[in-house]
Subunit: 138 residues, 2 copies
Amino acid sequence: MLKIAKSVEYALLALKYIHERQDLDCVSTKVISDSVVIPYELLAKIMQRLVKDEIIISQQGTKGGYKLAVPPDKINITRIINAVEQKVQVTDCLVETPTLNDCKRYQDCCLRNPLNQIQIKINKLFDELTLGEIIQYN
Amino acid sequence: MLKIAKSVEYALLALKYIHERQDLDCVSTKVISDSVVIPYELLAKIMQRLVKDEIIISQQGTKGGYKLAVPPDKINITRIINAVEQKVQVTDCLVETPTLNDCKRYQDCCLRNPLNQIQIKINKLFDELTLGEIIQYN
DNA sequence: TCATATACGACTTAAAAAGTCCGATATAAA
DNA sequence: TTTATATCGGACTTTTTAAGTCGTATATGA
Ligand code: SF4
Ligand code: SF4
């Protein structure tokens, strides 16, 4: 339990690869997919979401690809998680406006508050960790 | 992502219920299952695991059931997570002895160290949170 | 105008989590 | 001593979610 989605890992690995190839004008999904070994179609979708959140800039057509829109130090992990449409959600009830459909217990559950505190602290960990700090390894 | 297993929540809710009924000699799975609204068979399995880890004591036969083996302040959430056979595992590679089967990248992955740091911090949150702190709510 | 790239949505498959079933043993009370 | 009610333990099925795939459209440099 408490696993991070592969799409988040793939996004981080791809962003690291792009950063390492700053010398090039841009890097295509194909090249990243082959180098980092990520399923092409899956990575393509992830790249598009990173574009939508303006973490990377796309260049369409032949010789197209992606380059970083922002220096790695300016991007935290929370932003990447949001970009790839993932959510840190420790329980079913920890959504903006919970309903009985999320969890029948949410109105008087003694777990909700303490687990929300855990979630807040986990969110803080991702807020304070930047892409820059991650790609400095290896 | 990063969701806590329902079996952990059920364990916590059941333990809270047992604690509230300290006056009784012991509480049966049936009673807990009906009161807290947890599928009977599923809860039964969870109770057995809590017995195995000596968090609760079982009384078999008619008029049987369970009672707490330890005061709630002395039980932290990590122990309950372990008892119900769940693991905090942020990535596929964060196991005792990772192999290429866990993740083909584990030998030179820049994510492994930073994500392990996250996992260590999450584990610390569960280490420092006791059942006693949770059941004081409501 | 052609080859190679991104863009976007729908779909399928695989893995994990949640829930169920079954046959056994234990024990208090009738 | 029989019966009803409980725990015990494993195997199994179902449901849900995550991961991965496919198809078609559009952009653009050579
Ligand atoms: S209300 Fe309680 S049981 Fe339901 S999802 Fe939230 S924490 Fe879990
Ligand atoms: S090695 Fe890297 S990519 Fe593989 S599971 Fe670990 S962190 Fe994720």
